[in-house]
């Protein structure tokens, strides 16, 4: 009877202590560890440690070894408190189950939370690009008609030559506009590329965050400096960091613009000239990005200049 009473008290104490351990922050956990070791466990080893952290680390190892010796598998969540808790409860099957249940519940909660966080934060970022070659009977007329339709849908003209149009269209209407282009004449070439820039986008965003945090830290340090040469040195570093941040912000803006407005280039070919052309002799390789590399594309990057000018003005 006395033995049963003793076990119940031990169980209750352990359960209360366990609860504290789970909720406590680091200092609380340390005091709990010290108390536990002093009261009932391996005090000779505890005495040898001089440092606070070393002490805790040593006891973690010690307890882990003991768990190994006893051959009992106890789920742990991590941290000094949990390992100690595991050891303590290894003496009682009920307590063991309790730890196991609590630990697995916690792990499930953690994984659900992580999934939820990742699901909420990561949004796919796509850049749509299209390139079409369309054969029509009246190039000028078809160009005007197409442009009028695209402007109605929120698109705009980026550049224009006698036979080519480069337009930017809202990304959400990209495929709708592709269908319209395909109906204006006979499609000779069609390249639609979807580029997933999610990783790049969040990489830039993260780098931006890190650099901004770094800037804030440097500014804090700057406030504490007194020597003029230290101040100058740090200000130079801060300037460099500001430039990096501006560059990344610029990249972010450009990427956001490309994500928001897709680029479509359309080349018009006069239908009656088609038979005379060397179309049938053309090499058509299944490499979509090849179409991007042309003299016309390189010389037609007017939009870049506007963006550059706008950024420069800011």
């Amino acid at each position: 009877m006395k033995k049963l009473l003793f076990l119940t008290i031990v169980g209750l104490t352990a359960s209360l202590t366990f609860g504290c351990g789970m909720m406590a922050d680091k200092p609380a956990m340390v005091s709990y560890d010290r108390g536990y070791v002093n009261d009932s466990y391996e005090s000779e080893n505890y005495e040898t440690s001089a440092g606070w952290d070393d002490d805790v680390e040593m006891r973690r190892g010690l307890i882990a070894q003991d768990i190994g010796r006893n051959g009992e598998m106890v789920p742990t969540i991590g941290g000094a408190g949990s390992v100690s808790e595991s050891k303590k409860y290894s003496k009682s099957k009920n307590a063991n189950d309790m730890v196991a249940n609590k630990a697995s519940k916690e792990l499930v909660e953690q994984s659900e939370k992580a999934h939820f966080v990742s699901g909420e934060e990561i949004q796919q970022k796509l850049i749509y690009t299209g390139s079409f070659s369309v054969s029509v009977y009246d190039v000028e007329l078809k160009k005007r008609e197409l442009l009028a339709q695209i402007q109605k849908m929120g698109g705009y003209l980026q550049s224009e030559t006698n036979t080519e149009l480069e337009i930017r269209v809202p990304a959400e209407k990209f495929f709708e506009i592709v269908k319209i282009i395909e109906k204006i004449g006979r499609v000779l070439n069609r390249y639609v590329v979807t580029k997933d820039v999610t990783e790049q986008f969040y990489d830039i965003q993260k780098r931006l965050e890190v650099k901004k945090e770094g800037l804030a830290t440097l500014r804090e340090i700057l406030k504490k400096l007194t020597k003029i040469e230290d101040v100058i040195l740090l200000q130079r570093e801060i300037r460099g960091l500001i430039e990096d941040i501006e560059t990344l912000e610029g990249k972010m803006r450009v990427m956001q613009s490309l994500i928001k407005h897709s680029l479509i280039s359309i080349t018009f070919v006069l239908e009656q000239e088609l038979s005379k052309s060397t179309y049938s002799n053309k090499v058509r390789l299944p490499i979509p990005w090849l179409a991007q590399h042309s003299l016309e594309n390189l010389l037609g990057i007017r939009q870049q200049q506007y963006q550059y000018q706008n950024q420069y003005r800011k």
Partner: protein
């Protein structure tokens, strides 16, 4: 205090090392375009001669001869440009080839240079496409310097 400065300095160096970008040393008198869309790098002269670099995935794992012939076909057979000359360059410890073409539209003659530099092995293949274009009379004098700048690709 010195220790603090050193930490701050190392911290900023570490931050700087996070970012890496594609660039080359353009001929004297050229300026670089900040954040060019569609390209990884663009520089231009006061005469509107432009140099660009774009890294593409070499999913086909084509070697340098494949890409040389592809760009030759693309420009001569498909686009009707006149082939002027070709040659070799090297960057990133890899061998590249360049091709020079001439193109006339509405009486205006342009020069167009395209350099191909496949790098990487097996599944990590990439190819750098370096292009330069401009009006012939403005670009001719810079041509050698432009081609030489291909060797400075980083």
């Amino acid at each position: 205090m010195k220790r603090m400065i050193l930490i701050a300095f190392l911290f900023s160096i570490a931050l700087g090392a996070v970012s890496c970008s594609i660039s080359l040393a353009p001929p004297n008198g050229y300026v670089e375009l900040d954040d060019p869309p569609m390209y990884d790098y663009v520089a231009f002269s006061p005469d509107d001669v432009r140099i660009s670099v774009k890294k593409q995935e070499n999913l086909e794992h084509g070697n340098i001869d494949f890409w040389y012939k592809t760009f030759m076909n693309l420009n001569v057979t498909n686009r009707g440009r006149k082939f002027i000359k070709d040659g070799d360059f090297s960057a990133k410890n890899k061998a590249g080839k360049y091709l020079v073409f001439e193109s006339e539209t509405n009486g205006i003659v342009h020069l167009y240079v395209v350099g191909v530099l496949p790098i990487g092995e097996d599944k990590d293949d990439d190819i750098f496409i370096i292009e330069a274009a401009g009006k012939k009379e403005k670009m001719e004098s810079d041509l050698d310097a432009i081609i030489a700048s291909f060797n400075t690709l980083k």
